[in-house]
C-alpha cells in the first residue's frame, strides 16, 4: 500500500516490561499473556493517518535482555522514534531508564522522538512506580510520557500515534532532513521527487553498491 511517509520506530526497555505485547496490541489488536522472549529484534508494521496523510510505521521490537544489549544498540541508528518502556509494577525497570536513555541518545540521531511509556497500568494494585514519577522523569529528560496497558489496550494507539504526530510536526518545522535516510524517515513512493517507474527487465543490473571487503 502506498504511503506519504515511513517512520522507523524502535522499542526499548528492560526484559519483561511488555515491549512485544505493546507492539502486538498495536499491530494486531490482541493481547498475548505469555509472550516468547524476544531475541535480537522482531519487526512490526502498521499504517496510520495523520493530517489526512497515510504514514507507515515500521517498528523494530528489541530484546531487553542484557546479553543482547550490544546487538540492540546497533538498531538505534536510523530510528525516527523510540518507545522507552518500563513496567509500573517493577521499580527496577524504572530505575534502569537512565541507562536506556543514555544508550539511546548515544547511538541514535539527535532528533529522535522518545516516548516514555509506563506499561501495565491495568495492574493498579501492584503499582510500584507512581504516575507522577514517570511524568517527572519525562519532564526532566524532555520526553513525551504516557501510561499504557498492552492488556486492555489503554493508550496503546495513542502512544504510537502521538509519537508519529511529534515526528510529523518536526518534519513540518524542518527539523528533520527527510532526504537523509539516517533520520528514520522515508518519503513514500508517490511523493518521491525522483520516482523512476519500474525499469524494464532489460536494463543493466550494474551494482551501485560500495564494495567494502
Amino acid at each position: 500500500m502506498s504511503y506519504a511517509y515511513l517512520f522507523k520506530y524502535i522499542i526499548i526497555g528492560d526484559t519483561g516490561v511488555g515491549k512485544s505485547c505493546l507492539l502486538l496490541q498495536f499491530t494486531d489488536k490482541r493481547f498475548q499473556p505469555v509472550h516468547d522472549l524476544t531475541i535480537g529484534v522482531e519487526f512490526g508494521a502498521r499504517m496510520i493517518t495523520i493530517d489526512s496523510k497515510q504514514i507507515k510505521l515500521q517498528i523494530w521490537d528489541t530484546a531487553g535482555q542484557e546479553a543482547f544489549r550490544s546487538i540492540t544498540r546497533s538498531y538505534y541508528r536510523g530510528a525516527a522514534g523510540a518507545l522507552l518502556v518500563y513496567d509500573i509494577t517493577r521499580r527496577e525497570t524504572f530505575n534502569h531508564l537512565t541507562t536506556w536513555l543514555d544508550d539511546a541518545r548515544q547511538h541514535s540521531n539527535s532528533n529522535m522522538v522518545i516516548m516514555l511509556i509506563g506499561n501495565k497500568s491495568d495492574l493498579e494494585s501492584r503499582r510500584e512506580v507512581k504516575k507522577e514519577e514517570g511524568e517527572a522523569f519525562a519532564r526532566e529528560h524532555g520526553l513525551v510520557f504516557m501510561e499504557t496497558s498492552a492488556k486492555t489496550a489503554a493508550n496503546v494507539e495513542e502512544a504510537f500515534i502521538n509519537t508519529a504526530k511529534e515526528i510529523y510536526e518536526k518534519i513540518q518545522e524542518g527539523v528533520f532532513d527527510i532526504n537523509n535516510e539516517a533520520n528514520g524517515i522515508k518519503i513514500g513512493p508517490q511523493h518521491s521527487p525522483t520516482n523512476p517507474s519500474l525499469p524494464g527487465a532489460a536494463s543493466s543490473g550494474g551494482s551501485q553498491m560500495s564494495n567494502c571487503c
Partner: protein, 469 residues
C-alpha cells in the same frame, strides 16, 4: 543511500541481480529471462515482503531468526552483508522427511516402517542470488529421490546386520548425497538458458538419519561439532589454495583449458619479463616441493591459482572451487571458461550420534562467520550461550555468533561508511552471515525410539495389523 535502497527495491521487483566484483556473469545476455524462483529469505523465517526489505538494510544489518521454533528448537540466525551486494546471497533450508518400507507379513498383512530424517542446508551464493535459491528449493527433493532409490537396501541394513547383497548403509547414504549434488549442478546447467543467469553457490548439507549425522560439503561454508568447550571440524574448505593439487593436475592433463594465458606451473612470485633468463623457484602440478629453473618466455603466463588464503583465486576470478552453478563463468580478463576447474562433488563426513550429549551441537556457518572467528572461538560462544540462556538457547547461540561476526559500526552517527568492527577493533565480517546451531542429542533419542519400536514389531504380536514403526 536512500536512493540506493529504493533502487534495490525496484530492481528486486524486476528480478535483476547484482554482480559482485570478483565474479562476473558470463558473456550471455540473459537479463530478459525471468528468475526461476523469486528472491526471499529462508521459508522458516516467515518474513513478509516488508520484512524482507527491512532485513536487507546494509547499515543496520538486523540479525534475523526464526519466528517459530525449528525441529528440536534448532537455532538459526542470519544477517545481510555490509553493502557488497544488494541482497543477502546466502540461503538456508530445513526439511523433515520419511522413507517408508512396506513388508508383507506371513499372515498376509503388511507392516509399514517409516525411517525419519531431517535435512539442513546452507548455500552461499555469488554473482547473484539465483543458484543459492534453486539449491534451497530443489536440492532436498533430489536428495529425497536418491534416498528413496536406496531405501530397500538401507532397510536390509537394519534387519540384517551383514547382508552380502548390499553395501554398508553409510556408503548408500553418502552415495545418495554425492549423486544428488551432481544432479543439482546438472539441473542448473540445463536451466541456464531457460532462466536468468543464476551465478553460483556453495552447498553445505547436514542429514540426520538412523542415528548418524552426514555432513556433505562443497564450498567454503564450514561445519563443526561443539562438544562442551571443544570442537572438531565436520568439513573442509574448498578454496583454490586447498584444492591446488586437484586443479593444477587437471590443468596439466588438459592444457587446452588454460588457453594461452595461464600455466599450471606455480612460481614463488609472478615472474616479470625483466626476470627473463634469471633463476626462479617453481613447482609443477605434480610437485609438492620447490625446484629451480631459468625463466623463459613461456613462464610469463599467469598461474592458474594466485593469491593466498581467502584471497586465492582460480584464473584470478573465483575464490571457491566447489559448489553449484557458475556454468557460464569466465575468467575476468581472458574470458576462458572456469567451470571445468570447479566441482560439485561434496566431501561427506559421517558422525555417529550414539555418544551424543546434552548441549552438543552441530554448527553450520557460511564463510561470513568463519572469516572472523575460528572453531575454538565459535565453540566458546556456543558454550557460553547454551549455559547462559534457558529459553531458546540454540537460537540465542546462533544470534550471538552472528552478532559477534557482524560486530558493530565503528561510528554510530557521523560516519556513513560501512566499517563494521569486532569488539576488539578488528574488521568485522562484511559478508552475508548465516548460522545453524543444531542440538545432536534429540536425534540420538529419536533413533533409539525408532529401534525400540522396530524391536517391538519384531517380537510383539502387533504384526497382525497394518502398523507403523
Amino acid at each position: 543511500m536512500f536512493n540506493r535502497l529504493r533502487s534495490a527495491v525496484i530492481e528486486a521487483v524486476s528480478g535483476l541481480e547484482a554482480t559482485n566484483g570478483t565474479v562476473e556473469n558470463g558473456h550471455h545476455n540473459k537479463s530478459n529471462l525471468a528468475p526461476k524462483f523469486p528472491y526471499g529469505r529462508p521459508h522458516f523465517l516467515g518474513l513478509g515482503d516488508d520484512e524482507v526489505q527491512m532485513s536487507a538494510d546494509h547499515k543496520l544489518r538486523p540479525i534475523i531468526h526464526p519466528s517459530k521454533p525449528l525441529p528440536h528448537n534448532t537455532g538459526y540466525a542470519e544477517c545481510v552483508n555490509a553493502g557488497k551486494s544488494r541482497w543477502n546471497e546466502d540461503q538456508a533450508v530445513y526439511r523433515q522427511g520419511v522413507l517408508s518400507k512396506i513388508i508383507p507379513t506371513e499372515q498376509g498383512n503388511v507392516q509399514k516402517f517409516s525411517i525419519p530424517y531431517t535435512y539442513y542446508g546452507i548455500f552461499d551464493g555469488h554473482a547473484g542470488v539465483g543458484a543459492a535459491l534453486c539449491a534451497s528449493y530443489q536440492l532436498h527433493h533430489i536428495i529425497h529421490e536418491k534416498l528413496v532409490d536406496a531405501q530397500d537396501d538401507i532397510w536390509i541394513n537394519i534387519t540384517e546386520k551383514h547382508s552380502p547383497t548390499t553395501k554398508p548403509r553409510d556408503l548408500l547414504i553418502i552415495g545418495a548425497l554425492e549423486s544428488a549434488f551432481r544432479e543439482m549442478d546438472q539441473l542448473l546447467l540445463e536451466d541456464r538458458n531457460k532462466y536468468q543467469a543464476a551465478g553460483g553457490c556453495t552447498a553445505l548439507v547436514a542429514l540426520f538419519i538412523l542415528g548418524k549425522l552426514y555432513v556433505a560439503n562443497a564450498g567454503d561454508s564450514r561445519a563443526i561439532i561443539c562438544r562442551e568447550q571443544n570442537f572438531f571440524p565436520m568439513s573442509m574448505d574448498f578454496t583454490p589454495e586447498n584444492e591446488r593439487d586437484r586443479i593444477r593436475r587437471l590443468a596439466q592433463e588438459q592444457p587446452a583449458l588454460l588457453g594461452k594465458e595461464f600455466t599450471c606451473h606455480e612460481y614463488l612470485e609472478q615472474p616479470k619479463s625483466s626476470d627473463l633468463g634469471k633463476t626462479v623457484m617453481f613447482r609443477d602440478a605434480y610437485m609438492k616441493g620447490w625446484a629451480y629453473k631459468t625463466l623463459q618466455l613461456d613462464d610469463l603466463k599467469v598461474s592458474i591459482i594466485t593469491g593466498h588464503g581467502k584471497r586465492s583465486r582460480v584464473m584470478g576470478t573465483i575464490g571457491v572451487t566447489r559448489g553449484f552453478g557458475d556454468h557460464d563463468l569466465t575468467a575476468v580478463y581472458q574470458k576462458l571458461p572456469i567451470k571445468p576447474f570447479l566441482s560439485s562433488h561434496p566431501e561427506v563426513q559421517v558422525y555417529s550420534l550414539s555418544d551424543a550429549i546434552e548441549n552438543e551441537v552441530l554448527l553450520m556457518g557460511t564463510d561470513g562467520l568463519w572469516d572472523v572467528l575460528d572453531g575454538s572461538k565459535a565453540a566458546e560462544i556456543v558454550s557460553k550461550s547454551l549455559n547462559e540462556f534457558e529459553d531458546k538457547k540454540y537460537v540465542s547461540a546462533a544470534t550471538c555468533l552472528v552478532g559477534f561476526a557482524r560486530g558493530s559500526l565503528n561510528n554510530s552517527l557521523r560516519s556513513l561508511s560501512n566499517t563494521w568492527q569486532l569488539k576488539e577493533g578488528k574488521m568485522a565480517s562484511c559478508d552475508d552471515i548465516s548460522v545453524f546451531v543444531i542440538p545432536l542429542l534429540p536425534y540420538k533419542l529419536e533413533y533409539e525410539n525408532f529401534i525400540k519400536k522396530c524391536e517391538v514389531k519384531e517380537y510383539g504380536e502387533s504384526a497382525m495389523d497394518v502398523s507403523e514403526c
